[in-house]
Symmetry: C2
Subunit: 200 residues, 2 copies
């Protein structure tokens, strides 16, 4: 088994950029939206639906880890979400088995815990996240500061809900990670160089 680095990240913190640069620098495989594409191949559901339940909005009424095994509930939405979860788990395990890799989001640190990944959480203060998001805005978008703040909070809420749903733990709680990196005041490239040092 190669080295696995998982990256949880607050929306707008630059966690994805951090992960991509880290993978490039280390010569590791990089998995982000690739995960969704692979799940698509393994299930009958649409990409949009998979994106929704694979990190944004799981089925909150029924815990996946019910009784330490997969429980098939009577509600079809639960069954569907669990189908995606099962395929996602095997996709992540397959990706991790192929080569050294960096995996973004999707509670991969928990799902792959038996493979002892090095888990990183990337975060930043809300002001710096709003600024980063505003810089990345598409031409037809024009979010105000408070609109952007609301958007960020909403996306983070979904990620927190998903993480807790899958792992039973609190998203962004330091005890779930080996390293927590604040991108508010330090250049991401410098932080990537720093972490690279740990794996060389």
């Amino acid at each position: 088994m190669g080295k696995i680095i998982t990256i949880g990240r607050e929306f707008g913190s630059g966690g994805r950029e951090f992960g991509r640069r880290l993978a490039e620098k280390l010569g590791y495989a990089y998995y982000d939206s690739e995960i969704i594409n692979e799940i698509c191949k393994g299930t009958k559901y649409s990409k949009e639906y998979i994106e929704q339940v694979s990190e944004k909005d799981p089925v909150p009424l029924f815990p996946i880890r019910y009784g330490n095994s997969f429980a098939i509930g009577p509600d079809p939405s639960v069954t569907m979400a669990m189908d995606v979860y099962k395929v996602q788990t095997s996709v992540l395990k397959e990706m991790a088995s192929k080569s050294n890799c960096v995996i973004i989001g999707r509670a991969a640190d928990y799902i792959l815990k038996d493979l002892k990944p090095f888990s990183i959480f990337v975060y930043a203060c809300i002001e710096s996240r709003i600024e980063r998001c505003q810089k990345r805005e598409k031409e037809n978008e024009n979010f105000t500061f408070s609109q952007m703040k609301r958007k960020i909070k909403k996306i983070d809420k979904g990620r927190a809900k998903y993480y807790s749903f899958v792992s039973g733990k609190k998203w962004g709680d330091k005890n779930n990670y080996d390293l927590m990196i604040n991108t508010s005041y330090t250049d991401i490239k410098r932080l990537v160089d720093m972490v690279t040092n740990l794996f060389e």
Copy 2:
């Protein structure tokens, strides 16, 4: 002004070792118990008293930052604690002004915030902290697992109380730090090498 690295740390996490090694590696000054000695020179109080109020058990009934200025309360214990706090603040500022340095604990990240220190928080899971503490036990000490756990929790509670008393913020909350390092599963020397990279 040189570079300032402040290190908050959970008891038993190896934060002090991390800080000492980092200072050695970078050739920075290292301040830990030196802070207490310097405060001793600047006040009339005993070393034991200063140790008590400078990080373990501040006066909790009266906030130091009352009305954004030092308020002298009628209670002599408050006045004494504030004397120490004032001397500690000037000692920390003087230390920081002399050369690049690593400062352990004492809410230095908050006290020196205008000097923009790089603030690190070192933590670990309770099992690894108990193990580390048991290895460091003196010959006449023989704490059981639960006794050691109680001791660790008590010391951390004091640190959290002190930090919150001085800064009004939560000790160990990721938003107060640039980097949070978990020493449970990664060798401290490797983590020191990693962080060194950021300052070279």
